[in-house]
């Protein structure tokens, strides 16, 4: 029967997570994190793991709950509400589904139980300095040496590289074109030759750059087939972007709440400012954006779980809409708050910076739109990789 809402268990899980985040002080964890104080975040991570957050999409055989993308949705929305730091997204909505589908028995046994227990998380090392996400510009190289791979290269914009234990690394193992010749390698952070943390506008997520100099790892670390990494990665991106949309929806939810509440209590000219249509109607438009993003992201995750034909279009639609809407909302939120919105004191800025973090994260808006177009069969040409969002 048609029922377009999260089920009771999912809503109940949301409540547990929200309670846990509220007890941790909601955005306070992110605020502390931006000041370099990660202890609150680490404590919270443990609690969330105890709740079961880190096992949702992992099969029961490896210590998880064996649930789907839709079950992640309430958790991700709550994390987005709290602008939570950490690589939960990359771990649970990218590496886990790939391990589940393409991992060898050995890989699964090595990684999945630790992820479920909350003792291992993953980030993604893809883009290189002055490069786009185009697969054909990847230069970081892995050369076969006996049963090992020897890796050389530089990866940048690795999210939270300094917060995770492992990385999924995209390397060139052969000559390419159209995404050929790439492989995905699972490596540990301590195998990396050098890592530096870059200054980022959004300090709730650390951005790192890693250098690999003759890093030797066993061939068994390759996930999926050698040279076929691009197709594996593209499948993982469906999970990642569906999940990203949900996290953005969570942020938007908090933003609309902030603006509405402030508009009810802040007075100017003897009136709560929410009485002025300039403010009121703007918040209404924000609400419309929020609900639209929520509908799109819920459907996207459902389509992913149930393998609908339109899943690609659904996921990238959700991703583009939520990304742009989130930036819009975060900006409006500052304006609605006036002067106080321009300060570090209010949370407004956290949401704006986070919105920018995800704008060009693992793709660009124009690229995603071409993916929608492709998903709907509008164009059969290979979509050209676009440099930027606009």
């Amino acid at each position: 029967m048609m029922d377009f809402s999260l089920n009771e268990e999912q809503e109940m899980f949301r409540n547990y997570v929200r309670k846990c985040l509220n007890e941790a002080g909601q955005t306070m964890v992110a605020r502390e994190f931006t000041c370099g104080n990660t202890s609150e975040f680490i404590k919270l991570q443990k609690k969330l793991a105890e709740l079961g957050c880190t096992g949702i999409t992992i099969s029961e055989e490896y210590g998880g709950l064996g649930l789907g993308a839709l079950d992640l949705v309430p958790v991700l929305e709550e994390f987005g509400r709290a602008v939570l730091p950490g690589a939960y997204l990359e771990t649970m909505a990218f590496v886990v589904p790939l391990l589940e589908k393409y991992g060898t028995r050995e890989q699964k046994e090595t990684y999945l139980p630790e992820i479920a227990a909350g003792t291992r998380s993953f980030s993604i090392a893809w883009v290189e300095p002055n490069k786009s996400y185009d697969p054909d510009v990847i230069e970081c190289q892995a050369v076969t040496k006996g049963s090992s791979l020897v890796i050389n290269g530089v990866k940048t914009l690795v999210p939270d590289g300094n917060q995770v234990e492992s990385l999924l690394l995209i390397v060139r193992t052969d000559e390419g074109g159209n995404g050929d010749g790439l492989s995905l390698v699972l490596i540990d952070v301590n195998e990396v030759t050098d890592m530096k943390t870059l200054s980022s506008m959004d300090e709730t997520r650390n951005v790192t750059e890693i250098t690999l100099e003759n890093v030797e790892v066993p061939m068994a670390r390759v996930i999926g087939e050698v040279n076929q990494g691009w197709n594996v990665l593209k499948e993982g991106l469906l999970y990642l972007h569906a999940a990203t949309s949900s996290m953005l929806v969570g942020s938007m939810d908090h933003i609309v709440e902030m603006s509405s509440e402030y508009a009810k209590i802040r007075e100017q000219f003897g009136q709560p400012i929410g009485r002025f249509q300039a403010i009121k109607h703007r918040i209404v438009d924000m609400k419309l954006d929020l609900e639209t993003a929520r509908s799109l992201s819920h459907y996207a995750n459902w389509a992913l779980d149930t393998n609908q034909q339109d899943k690609e279009a659904a996921i990238y639609s959700a991703r583009t809409f939520a990304t742009e809407a989130n930036i819009r909302l975060a900006s409006h939120n500052i304006q609605n708050h006036g002067g106080i919105g321009f300060t570090m004191e209010m949370d407004c800025h956290l949401f704006l910076k986070r919105a920018r973090f995800y704008e060009n994260y693992m793709g660009s808006i124009s690229q995603f739109r071409e993916d929608v177009s492709k998903g709907l069969g509008w164009s059969y040409e290979k979509p050209r990789f676009q440099l930027t969002s606009k």
Partner: protein
């Protein structure tokens, strides 16, 4: 979360689809008078097939349809490009209201005839100075012996020029400072000397709406719905009968978008399809996301309606999104046709009435509550923001 229909629902869909295949008229007359009788015929055909007033109880000729069946009904009607209902006001508003609060005599007099289209109804709400603010109506009804004399002017009366009866709001008393009080609902006979109907020409050249001038038009006590001076409540409860809300518009938006995709593939300039232009694809992907979002919002609100039993103020979200998006989408459709897009009707570059639909779409963000009013409703009733200052 589940998007599938039950087997029973799918059987309902199939039954309707089969019926439509056999009964749908194949050609639509263009000439005004012929078109009206065509629409009346269609209404009679629907009623005879049991496909008018489907949500009504069987005793009134309905089939007790569930909300989901109503949705399916709208989907299939849009899918089949079925003619519009000439008696929408009668079937979706007047009929259900009378069944609920009408007198037995009113039910007897009106319900069957409105189902079959024998009597066409119109709605007498708006006035020249009462548009967004309906409570400002001035049309008066004064008791004169055993009859009521009605004077005033109504406007935006759809099908007023062919309607037999009007569901009319009139002021029966003045309560200073309480404009919502003292309003009464009358069932007015349009075929009388005191009623003069003048068509309004819309900017797209069509005439769907009318001005209605009332000069000592006559009603009797038997024509009053509910109680005297309590018409505002009648009007509000009538709105709740519109359970499926703007279902038809939502599915029309969906269809419109699919037509747009087809148009960008078919329409060629310099031998190239529009969809081959990357800029157009980008905007199309954006429109896809937003129209899907509007449709999915509608489903989410439906779920709430199903769970809560009655629609909430969220229906304003659907109305606002769908009307604004329809306008934007049609503007885009005309715009990308390039210089040839200025051509009209038979000379238009592609034969789907894009130009006419575009101009008509300017009415969608005005009629049925302007976008500004929808935003107030959402702000105040969904978000709990303070009400506008009113004098």
């Amino acid at each position: 979360m589940d998007f599938s229909f039950t087997k029973k629902e799918e059987r309902f869909r199939l039954e309707l689809r089969n019926w439509l295949e056999e009964n749908l008229p194949t050609s639509w007359p263009k000439e005004e008078e012929a078109y009206i009788s065509f629409l009346k015929n269609w209404q009679r055909t629907l009623a005879e097939g049991g496909w008018a007033g489907i949500t009504w109880p069987e005793k009134y000729g309905g089939r007790n349809a569930t909300l989901m069946q109503e949705i399916i009904y709208h989907q299939e009607m849009v899918r089949a490009d079925a003619p519009p209902s000439i008696n929408y006001v009668g079937i979706h508003m007047v009929g259900p209201t009378l069944m609920q609060i009408g007198t037995e005599e009113q039910k007897e007099r009106f319900i069957k005839k409105l189902l079959t289209g024998e009597e066409i109804w119109c709605q007498g709400y708006s006035e020249p100075n009462a548009g967004s603010d309906l409570s400002a109506i001035k049309t008066s009804a004064l008791k004169d012996g055993d009859r009521w004399l009605i004077n005033g002017q109504k406007v935006w009366t759809s099908y007023g020029h062919i309607a037999d009866r009007c569901f009319l709001l009139a002021r029966t008393s003045q309560v200073p400072g309480k404009k919502h009080k003292g309003i009464t609902v009358f069932l007015l006979d349009m075929n009388q000397p005191g009623v003069e109907v003048r068509p309004i020409v819309q900017l797209d050249g069509r005439q769907e709406f009318n001005e209605v001038y009332l000069t000592d038009a006559v009603c009797s006590d038997a024509d009053i719905v509910g109680e005297v001076d309590k018409g505002w409540q009648v009007m509000i409860s009538l709105m709740l009968h519109e359970r499926a809300g703007i279902g038809a518009e939502v599915f029309t938006l969906e269809k419109q978008f699919n037509n747009l995709v087809a148009m960008t593939k078919e329409y060629k300039v310099d031998g190239k399809s529009l969809i081959e232009d990357a800029n157009i694809r980008q905007k199309m992907a954006d429109l896809y996301a937003r129209s899907r979002g509007a449709i999915l919002n509608y489903y989410r609100n439906l779920t709430n309606t199903l769970k809560n039993g009655q629609p909430g103020p969220e229906s304003s979200i659907d109305k606002l999104l769908v009307s604004e998006l329809t306008k934007e989408m049609l503007e885009f459709a005309v715009s990308i046709q390039g210089p040839h897009g200025i051509l009209w009707k038979e000379d238009a570059p592609i034969n789907s009435r894009w130009q006419e639909k575009y101009l008509y779409s300017y009415g969608t963000t005005i009629g049925g509550g302007t976008s500004e009013i929808q935003r107030n409703t959402i702000g105040e009733r969904v978000l709990g923001l303070p009400k506008d200052l009113r004098a």
